[in-house]
């Protein structure tokens, strides 16, 4: 987190001596940024498949891929295999939609990236270059809109395959993504309240001098993270492709590069969700414990450093995605729905009201945004966290195969348990 120096300034106005590039130079640099980002992104996604396999192997006490070029060339080998494989076209598929579906799930995953700022602005002799492909003033809304398009690809894949498993997977994914999108959108409203703007740059800037949102809005972060897991169809929310029930869910009938596109889209979504978490809650490209990176004067090295920091934050969240995947089992469908609608949505709504009233109270008390403001917000947040995760986490947050129980019933069961232990000491051993 950055320490406050002076008053908040918008990033665009941070370095008045350096106007942003314009005209032909702007066009050329945008093309360069597009190409560089797309390349790094695609190579990164390929390497993430390797990372996933390695991490899963290590968690399961295995070595993971280590044959093709010591394992490093495994993604290339996989890609080559997928290009060589036969493109199956099962009987009865709706051909146009069958071909369109992988494209529809692939493109939104990539498009969302163009509004995420990935570094401090870089000064050049032509002017300042913003480290973002398209600096949309409605950046955040754009991301919400684009990422929700990803569900079309999955639903169309399920429907056009003419396969009951695929259809079930598609149905599940539509229900899941629609449900969790609401919680996701609601969880970000406190951020918008704090930042006062939907531009991602201003959200980052607000965090740079006001403290990272993960400290002030931890509950929102948790809701966002869980919703992000659900949105990307990763375990424990991988119901659309539940292998044990639905063969492979919506991509059962897909092979070769069409399947690969779904696969890439899943990883690309994961990276996008990680980048969003880093941007919205962990200060984006903000270098921790410094303030200079946000108020300028900017330098090339500072810009590169901030890009590195942002990458590190993204990779951390990607690692968390994989770590959780290889730890948790899948939810049952009713648990998924009850978590989304009965717990996360109401919690997000209550949290919005809470944060809004705290902000109103603080501004009424005349406390300027900064040190004390952050401290008060953070301590209120800490209280809510303890309430949620220590006191309420007694079978109420998620109620899996059991409901809430009356204390009298608990007492009865304990007495029963004791009697059983007396009568059959072996039968109950290890039962508790």
């Amino acid at each position: 987190m950055s320490v406050v120096h002076g008053f908040p300034v918008l990033l665009q106005a941070a370095d008045p001596n350096m106007p942003p590039v314009s005209g032909m130079v702007f066009f050329i640099f945008t093309i360069i940024k597009l190409v560089v980002i797309f390349t790094i992104y695609m190579v990164g996604v390929a390497m993430l498949t390797l990372a996933e396999r390695k991490i899963s192997a290590w968690i399961q006490d295995r070595h993971g891929p280590n044959r093709v070029g010591k394992g490093w060339l495994q993604p290339a080998a996989d890609g080559l295999k997928n290009f060589m494989k036969e493109e199956t076209m099962p009987a009865g598929v709706n051909k146009p939609l069958f071909v369109l579906a992988p494209i529809l799930s692939f493109i939104p995953a990539l498009t969302a990236w163009c509004v995420i700022p990935f570094g401090a602005p870089m000064p050049t002799r032509w002017g300042r270059i913003d480290m973002v492909v398209a600096d949309l003033p409605i950046g955040f809304l754009f991301i919400l809109a684009i990422t929700s398009l990803g569900v079309y690809g999955i639903v169309l894949a399920g429907w056009s395959s003419n396969n009951k498993y695929a259809l079930l997977g598609g149905l599940r994914s539509s229900a899941q993504m629609v449900s969790y999108e609401i919680a996701m959108g609601m969880s970000t409203i406190p951020i918008l309240l704090l930042a006062g703007n939907v531009s991602l740059n201003s959200i980052i800037n607000q965090q740079a001098w006001g403290g990272w949102n993960v400290v002030n809005l931890t509950v929102a972060f948790f809701i966002f993270m869980v919703a992000a897991f659900a949105e990307t169809n990763r375990l424990p929310f991988d119901l659309p492709e539940a292998e044990t029930e639905l063969v492979a869910g919506y991509h059962t009938e897909y092979s070769a590069m069409k399947f690969s596109l779904f696969f890439i889209a899943e990883y690309a979504n994961m990276v996008t969700a990680s980048a969003l978490m880093a941007t919205l809650f962990f200060g984006g490209w903000d270098v921790p414990f410094t303030a200079r990176d946000n108020i300028g004067p900017f330098s090339k090295w500072l810009s590169l450093l901030s890009i590195g920091i942002f990458l590190a934050k993204i990779l951390f969240f990607v690692f968390v995605f994989m770590w959780v995947r290889w730890t948790l089992p899948r939810f049952r469908y009713d648990q998924l729905m009850s978590l989304g609608w009965k717990f996360m949505l109401p919690l997000a709504l209550v949290y919005i009201v809470l944060i809004a009233s705290v902000m109103l109270g603080l501004s009424a008390a005349g406390i300027p945004e900064g040190g004390w403001y952050t401290a008060i917000l953070g301590s209120i947040n800490l209280g809510v966290m303890i309430l949620l995760f220590a006191i309420l986490d007694r079978g109420r947050i998620i109620s899996p195969a059991y409901g809430r129980m009356h204390p009298r019933e608990v007492e009865r069961l304990r007495q029963l348990d004791k009697q059983l232990e007396k009568r059959h000491p072996i039968a109950t051993e290890g039962g508790r």
């Binding site: 006490d61 986490d393 899996p400 069961l413």
Partner: protein, 166 residues
């Protein structure tokens, strides 16, 4: 019709999601960084030890002069339950019997090791060997020369006096 969900009654104090999740993630993290604990055997490079009594593909032992020890007594084709040994006996000028043809069909063989047990000359043995890839079915019919050319260690038969192999 609504889906029926079985409600397992558990004490509320024991029930958590977030704490249990964190516990599980701590466990997987422990395994993630446990480099010594990775148990996979890197097969072609390193091989798991096999028992001294492992019964694999056969081997014919030879005398000092490089001839097969077999005297073509005919006990092994007789005892063989799978009928996989083909033996045609021959006799040289000095009256010594030797196998003209000695073939073992390793596809028919059930690797019971009776042939080794019954052999009076300790000539035919089952071997401590398991990598037997061939490009054709005919490749698995081992003739005498091939059986003599094998170099892998042979099976140690079970000894009734030392049942545990100590």
């Amino acid at each position: 019709m609504a889906i029926k969900v079985k409600v397992v009654e558990r004490p509320t104090d024991d029930v958590s999601y977030i704490r249990a999740t964190l516990k599980g993630m701590a466990l997987t993290a422990k395994h993630l960084f446990d480099v010594q604990g990775r148990v996979t055997t890197q097969y072609p490079e390193e091989k798991s030890p096999i028992s001294p009594r492992w019964r694999g593909t056969h081997r014919m032992l030879t005398t000092e002069t490089g001839k097969a020890r077999c005297v073509a007594c005919g006990l092994c084709p007789t005892v063989c339950p799978a009928n996989c040994i083909k033996l045609v006996p021959g006799e040289d000028e000095e009256g010594n019997r030797y196998p003209l043809v000695f073939e073992i069909d390793e596809f028919r063989c059930i690797f019971c090791g009776f042939c080794q047990e019954v052999c009076p000359e300790e000539a035919i043995h089952v071997g401590r060997h398991y990598e037997n890839a061939e490009y054709s079915r005919e490749g698995f019919v081992y003739d005498l020369q091939r059986l003599m050319d094998q170099t892998h260690p042979v099976c140690e038969m079970w000894d009734p006096k030392d049942p545990k192999g100590e």
